[in-house]
Symmetry: none
Subunit: 226 residues, 2 copies
DNA sequence: CTTCAACAACCAGAATCTTCATAAATTTCA
DNA sequence: TGAAATTTATGAAGATTCTGGTTGTTGAAG
């Protein structure tokens, strides 16, 4: 599995490369527009981590070039926080994901993994647990193939549960992943209870097999068994 | 699941330890280089949360030590924001993840979880003693293959007993591992008696072969024999 | 402005866990 | 051996957490 990291800032590039190598990828890197362009023309990469601001040209141009070459590499754009325009432009040009600086390495790793997986199975990406299937791209859920309408929070929760089937999940972890740092000033978990309750009701009435079980004093787990 | 927190700043250490205990880990801590080194040499930890700046030496040295001892603990480095060099060095020396201060506790929890999981990715973990089998990740217990529903405390106790079969286990040790430092201000072991009683009843009615025997004046042991 | 969907907050009852009172078992020692 | 002291077991009350119904708030759409 081969990855190209295009980033001009030395220290950050090092760190990214290190981290990806740890994940057992074969990693190459480029620090300028020209270097990146050369490598893209010469090799095939499964995934490209691409900074937008580059000496010698914009990363967006590289995206166009990639398209022209009909390369099927996945692309994750990495850019400064506020350049939302780049995001739209990038996704328009066929990037697969977007990450704003600063970001956590584990986050990047997760995205890379996800992009590669998505590319490999050229069908639509989906996750399943028993008779529940969710389509992250479309924010859609089906039970036995029947569409189930869920809200945003409900979807996020379900997504997290199905990504971690049969695993204990603390309320703090769930809150962090679904609500972000909203949790910091919260002094009760009522908002979790509400959403979990609604989600459970929907799952049950749609005939879902897996259940969201509570673990007293800790959190939840989603499982098919007792 | 055992974790070592190496951090010299008192307040932060406390908070981290608290938070990890909430996630049901058994947590120990060290505040100096020497203390950390001693503990690493003496015990096996599933994960080590390691501050770089320590009184008495650098956390990076500890990483080398760990490697020399061929311990397989996961390591998460925690350090001040701007020392990017430490990050590179740390990952080079075999750390599994890196976190810059300040960070959210939930973030740390997530990393710890991920590191531990990565370390034990080889199939589903399970422990058995006679006809009892427990699945720590799923918080599940079976007797002769039949699911047995247990509550959180009951599970934790059973987990500890089955992890240490035929061994004498003092009530203090059991309390420490299941209830954490809750025990510190307790002046009786009633909470243990209650839970052990309920667990015994469930095990017996499910036909479990091993029994939880009391050892007068000391604690318990779980065994199949008389 | 009104309506509606999404979400959070509130509340009473259920499940779980701890504490308490008291009984049973084990050890000590006269 | 046989009480007294200590430790463990048990059932029930009290405290905490979770559930599921309902209500309140907010922001977007009509």
């Amino acid at each position: 599995m081969k990855i190209l990291v295009v980033e001009d800032e030395e220290a950050l590039r090092q760190v990214i490369v290190q981290s990806l190598k740890k994940e057992r990828y074969v990693v190459e890197c480029a620090s300028t527009f020209r270097e990146a362009s050369d490598k893209i023309n010469e090799y095939d990469y499964d995934c490209i981590v691409l900074d937008i601001m580059l000496p010698g040209g914009s990363g967006l141009t590289l995206l166009g070039e990639l398209k022209a070459l009909r390369k099927k590499s996945g692309v994750i754009i990495v850019s400064a926080k506020d350049s939302i325009d780049d995001k739209v432009a990038g996704l328009d040009l066929g990037a697969d994901d977007y990450l704003t600086k600063p970001f956590h390495l584990t986050e990047l790793n997760a995205r890379v993994k996800s992009v590669i997986r998505r590319k490999q199975q050229n069908g639509e990406q989906h996750l399943s647990l028993a008779n529940i299937t969710i389509y992250p791209d479309r924010h859609a859920v089906t039970i036995n193939g029947e569409a189930l309408s869920v809200n945003r929070k409900e979807f996020d929760i379900l997504y997290y549960f199905i990504s971690n089937p049969n695993r204990l999940i603390s309320k703090a972890t769930l809150a962090e992943s679904v609500w972000g740092d909203y949790i910091d000033q919260a002094d009760s978990f009522d908002f979790i209870y509400s959403q979990v309750k609604n989600l459970r009701k929907k799952l049950k009435s749609a005939g879902a097999i897996p259940e969201i079980k509570a673990v007293y004093g800790f959190g939840y787990k989603m499982t098919c068994e007792d």
